[in-house]
């Protein structure tokens, strides 16, 4: 009965009710969208950064991450790769080798990190091939080809078509020496990569560095980072009996992980202040309307309603207001999020970072139960709890003096 009264009370003052509803709905809408957007941005940044070279996860020999060395190898990668490909969520597995060597042309020579990669698999894990500015990336069938960074090319004074020599130490300690033709030059925009990285076909690397069919790491990619993350358990199981470790994205990019955690934790502060302010505003306007209705409450009291009941009625009005407002806000927020998720939003800065890698410069919000419900639920609870103030005020009213109260 009180509920019915409360509901009708709300609609006796449609303008006031609608305004309060609008405030709550707007706040809820904003929270849903912003949180979806924020989580979407995190996901996009993670994927984009990992797509540059790392891959979404890697299989490595024990101790490789702390101290990478040519000597730490995965000995029979073939069966392992075959097993990994059967894990649902895993899209591509790219075997890689890495050694430190002197790369030279004429009388110029520089220490360089040389990668051996599979030209067919590698582009499915890394986007380096999109940054080629001169010539082309490696392709299947290449033998003595190599791609080098723009700054290294400049230092060596070579262009596509020229040859360079590579001199390093092979796996068995002997000298690894080779002459390669530069088929492409890449420009990633990151100075260190452009200055110190070269990629050559895996088979040729293995031959030159006396590795037979051993590799150093397996880089794993998939449709989305989430796919690979949820496949990590299965991936671990399929390499269980080797002396190998699976490194998840947090291990591969700890700096990014730290940055995202910091940003998320800090933004919790902002969300909290937003909720506090909204609740405060709602409460105050509600308090004001309660004060306006003192006469009305006086009448109710005088016809026999108990103060507590009047208080509960007011509290119910507040609760309905919150529920309806939040529901509307969530609904519209979901709709807006889904629309933006379809088209994407371009913000300044994202294009600069990602476009050179052939990655989209737009950001997409991601709707999830967390982003959809967490903020509204907290706001709703806060409002309901804060309803104690008007309740107490009403509870203390006395019929006669209330009825006398004028504006």
């Amino acid at each position: 009965m009180l509920a019915g009264l409360a509901w009708r009370n709300l609609w006796r003052q449609p303008r006031r009710t609608l305004l309060s509803l609008a405030s709550i709905a707007f706040a809820a809408l904003v929270m849903v969208f912003l949180m979806s957007f924020q989580l979407g941005v995190y996901a996009t940044m993670k994927e984009n950064v990992l797509r540059i070279v790392d891959g979404f996860a890697q299989v490595q020999p024990a101790g490789y991450r702390e101290n990478p060395s040519l000597r730490k190898t995965i000995d029979a990668p073939g069966p392992i790769i075959a097993r990994l490909r059967t894990v649902p969520g895993v899209g591509a597995v790219a075997p890689r080798t890495m050694g430190f060597a002197i790369v030279s042309s004429g009388d110029k020579s520089f220490g360089t990190a040389v990668f051996g990669v599979d030209p067919a698999m590698e582009p499915r894990v890394s986007r380096l091939n999109h940054t080629i500015v001169n010539g082309r990336y490696l392709k299947a069938g290449d033998e003595n080809a190599v791609v080098i960074g723009k700054r290294l090319a400049r230092n060596l004074d070579v262009k596509a078509g020229d040859t360079i020599s590579v001199l390093g130490e092979a796996l068995d300690g002997s000298i690894a020496a080779d002459v390669l033709t530069v088929v492409g030059i890449f420009d990633t925009g990151t100075r260190e990569i452009d200055r110190q990285l070269a990629e050559m076909p895996l088979a040729r690397f293995q031959a030159t560095f006396a590795m037979n069919d051993k590799v150093n790491t397996l880089a794993i990619s998939g449709n989305t980072l989430a796919d690979v993350d949820s496949a990590l358990g299965a991936i671990r199981r399929s390499i269980a009996n080797e002396n190998l470790k699976v490194q998840n994205w947090q291990a591969l990019e700890p700096g990014l992980d730290g940055a995202i955690s910091l940003d998320f934790n800090t933004s919790m502060l902002w969300y909290t202040s937003l909720v506090v302010i909204v609740v405060f505003i709602i409460l105050n306007t509600l308090l004001m309307s309660v004060l306006e209705r003192t006469r009305e409450f006086g009448v109710l009291l005088s016809v026999g309603m108990r103060p507590a009941q009047v208080g509960i009625m007011v509290w119910l009005e507040l609760t309905f207001l919150a529920l309806v407002g939040l529901a509307v806000g969530i609904a519209i927020g979901d709709a807006v999020t889904l629309v933006v998720a379809h088209y994407g939003l371009e913000l300044p800065g994202t294009d600069a970072i990602f476009s050179r890698w052939g990655l989209p410069g737009r950001l997409f919000p991601r709707l999830s139960l967390v982003s959809m419900l967490s903020a509204p639920v907290i706001m709703g609870l806060s409002i309901v709890v804060a309803g104690i103030f008007p309740y107490r005020h009403v509870d203390q009213l006395e019929p006669i003096s209330a009825m006398r109260e004028s504006l």
Binding site: N67, N155, G255, I281, N284, L291, L347, G349
Partner: protein, 409 residues
């Protein structure tokens, strides 16, 4: 205008006839304005702090190099100490701090491990305000001055080398003639910063670094910080004009990734501020509308007493001007006081954020400051909004038939 003079104090007294309603409005407006202004300062301090921290990781706002250094960062690509006009610019008002450095690739060796690093020969006194090194010592001590021949290692690097304060390590590098040179050095201190800094940099005095590399007055790099109120572009242009033979770049060109993240963060901040603004605006509008619509009886009475409808509108607007104005004033002063009180620094560590911050070497203290123009804009807009909001309902309320109005409610 006489009416104005008459109505002004009348409006004021009217306000205070209903103390509770007025106080609540005052509260909503002042708290709303206070929070938006304080929030603005804090969130900007946070964004500025993040940028400043990443710039303090050896990038600074601008860097001066010899041409070709960025491709081949060796000692052969060094330049002479700045003199003449460049020195004037650096010592002038456009530059707050500038730090001269030797910065070359080198090898650091201990009994157990040999690792590639970047050797940075610095003047520790000049690095204050330019890089993190003065504030990051975890063990031992900072270098004394530019002639200190000891070295500072990052914590993670020291662990990998299995060395510690007081022990000796050996630095190897290629000198100006391409010859291999080396020097033993005592580890004077260990610093804690972002993992990248800890693993990459070994610091020693500028003069011993020069001596090792067989150069006299050369520098690899000058890192520059400008005062807060000077736009970087201006300082860059001034420096580039006086030294066209050198490579002078700003941080946005040197670190495009940092630039991208900074822009993104700023974008987000604008979104946040607009959201808050709209919410507070709705709150103010709400209170104002309710205030008017609840008072139709009163307006009817006034009309019956001879008030013209336009006077009612004017009266209501004057109430709004006064109460919103007061609220805005109180909120603004409160924000001013809060920001001034907090300008000594808000520590993030108590909020459990320090772990992530440590990892990145990000500052753990925020320094809010006020942006005067934003201040005024916010104040004026909210005031204007509050006043304009009552215009329509006031006109409606004034249009009621007097008798009907008195019977309503």
């Amino acid at each position: 205008m006489n009416m104005l003079r008459l109505l002004f104090p009348f409006a004021w007294r009217n306000l205070w006839r209903n103390r509770r309603r007025t106080l609540i409005t005052l509260l909503v407006v002042s708290i709303g304005v206070w929070s938006i202004l304080t929030f603005n300062s804090v969130i900007r301090a946070w964004a500025d702090g993040s940028l400043a921290s990443s710039l303090k990781n050896m990038t600074a706002e601008a860097q001066i190099h010899a041409r070709g250094y960025l491709d081949q960062p060796d000692i052969a690509h060094s330049f002479a100490k700045p003199s003449g006009n460049l020195e004037k610019v650096l010592d002038g008002p456009l530059v707050a701090h500038w730090a001269p450095r030797i910065r070359v690739p080198a090898i650091v060796q201990s009994e157990y491990e040999t690792l590639p690093v970047t050797l940075a020969g610095i003047d520790p006194g000049r690095e204050v305000g330019v890089s993190f090194i003065g504030e990051a010592m975890a063990e031992g001590r900072n270098l004394d001055d530019a002639s200190d021949a000891g070295v500072l290692l990052g914590r993670h690097l020291a662990t990998r080398l299995k060395t510690e304060v007081g022990k000796r390590i050996v630095i190897m590098a290629n000198d100006a003639n391409g010859r291999l040179v080396e020097r033993g050095a005592r580890v004077e201190g260990i610093f804690a910063a972002s993992s990248e800094m800890e693993d990459q940099f070994v610091f020693t005095g500028l003069l011993p670094a020069r001596k090792l590399l067989h150069v006299q007055q050369q520098l690899s790099e000058i890192a520059v910080m400008t005062p807060q109120d000077i736009p970087l572009a201006k300082a860059l242009a001034a420096m580039q004009n006086t030294a066209p033979g050198l490579d002078i770049e700003g941080w946005a060109t040197l670190q495009p990734m940092t630039r991208g993240i900074h822009d993104l963060t700023n974008g987000f901040i604008y979104i946040w501020l607009w959201v808050m603004f709209v919410l507070i605006a709705i709150g103010v509008v709400n209170t104002q509308l309710m205030a008017v619509f609840e008072r139709t009886r009163e307006f009817g009475l006034l009309q019956a007493l001879g008030f013209r409808p336009s006077w009612i509108v004017l009266e209501v607007m004057l109430e709004a001007v006064q109460i919103i104005g007061l609220g805005v004033l109180v909120g603004a002063i409160g924000a001013l006081m809060t920001v001034t009180a907090l300008s000594g620094g808000i520590s993030l560590s108590g909020l459990g954020l320090s772990a992530g911050a440590d990892f990145l070497g990000v500052t753990r203290v925020l320094y809010p400051r006020l942006d005067v123009s934003e201040f005024f804009v916010t104040v004026v807009v909210i005031w204007g909004l509050g006043v304009l909001t009552v215009l329509w309902p006031a006109r409606r309320a004034a249009g009621f038939d007097a008798i009907e109005a008195m019977h309503s409610n």
